[in-house]
Symmetry: C2
Subunit: 219 residues, 2 copies
């Protein structure tokens, strides 16, 4: 009666993922020809041989189809960060994992990014996606450092700092330097980052006291 079968839940889950993958695959194939805004959900559903209603049982919105693909990157990145050698510097761990991720960009990923670039309604989603990426980095760093991201602000701040050059590289690539190589932009961003950091540190150690402990001035 109230007994819930153990095996079917795993099977159902795999089946669900399969349908979801099929749906987004069909949608992305259609998006190679059509503009995102002109493509309706009815068309996606019809092309996948599924009813419109069923589509909304797998995706909450049309943007979600693209987002589902992009979100896998955040998962991979987070996994890479925690899998990184434990003695590696947190900032370096984030940046190496990121470089590994961008190196794996294939043609499909490039087409996807191009689609997002030229679709205003997807650019907002892209901001949200970048934020998800950052949050993934925060959690991965928190796990690495054995800290609770809900209580301690260190993971937040460290992750944001480590993410700064990556963000800059992505934004430059996404923006007005799309033609250039991602790896090259990443190099430039990391170089700028290190230079600025060194300058900041040099400015600090010029002060007499080795550790600045003063409270910041109230306005």
């Amino acid at each position: 009666m109230v007994y819930t079968a153990p095996m079917p839940v795993a099977i159902a889950e795999r089946k669900r993922r399969a349908v979801r993958g099929e749906l987004s695959e069909v949608a992305l194939r259609l998006l190679t020809d059509r503009a995102f805004d002109s493509l309706t959900i009815d068309e996606i559903a019809a092309a996948a041989g599924v009813s419109r209603r069923t589509f909304f049982r797998y995706f909450t919105s049309k943007e979600d189809v693209v987002f589902a693909f992009l979100d896998q990157w955040a998962v991979r990145l987070a996994a890479d960060i925690v899998a990184r050698p434990a003695r590696e510097d947190p900032v370096a761990a984030v940046q190496n994992s990121f470089r590994q991720l961008t190196a794996a960009y294939d043609d499909q990923a490039l087409a996807l990014v191009r689609l997002v670039r030229e679709t205003p309604s997807l650019q907002e989603q892209e901001m949200i996606n970048r934020e998800h990426l950052r949050i993934a980095v925060v959690n991965a760093l928190a796990m690495r450092l054995g800290l609770d991201a809900e209580r301690d602000m260190r993971p937040q701040i460290l992750a944001t700092i480590a993410f700064a050059p990556l963000d800059a590289a992505m934004l430059a690539w996404f923006g007005n330097r799309f033609g250039e190589e991602v790896g090259h932009l990443l190099d430039e961003a990391l170089g700028t980052f290190e230079r600025e950091r060194d300058a900041m540190c040099a400015g600090l150690q010029s002060s007499t006291k080795p550790r600045t402990r003063r409270r910041s001035a109230r306005s």
Copy 2:
């Protein structure tokens, strides 16, 4: 014929701003009682004494009404940053401006934030709004430093770093520490930031070479 009157454009612009302000004021007043999702645009338009169609001539979406208010903060923050004394450290300039901004939070602002917090469809907009805030900081810093943000990555990186503790404070406040004082969270975040920065610098200068110039290792 082809002559365009000079004065009317300014008047029309002010009138437009007035209508826009009136609309969002009415909407926010309605939102003190009602939930965001249950409030329809027809109601807003009716309460403001305009047609539904006219509403969409002033706002692109329902979320835009809230967003219009929140976006003013970004404008103010950017203005504060560029108006800051020129000899002030860029990072400090950003953080002082931000503190000034959060200190000016009034009851209406708090109610607005509370609304966003408890409305899922607005939380996405909140991410976008934070990103707009960051971009405003980037541009303000670029102007301060006399750099072109489109070509040079320094403004991006510096702004993101300077913004990191502010972001952490906002997120903590927005998240699970809503009851606490914003200024206090900001103090905590800035303290953590300075401590981490000092630790990072100390780690750097422990190396023999004063300036690290090595290329980051390829994966």
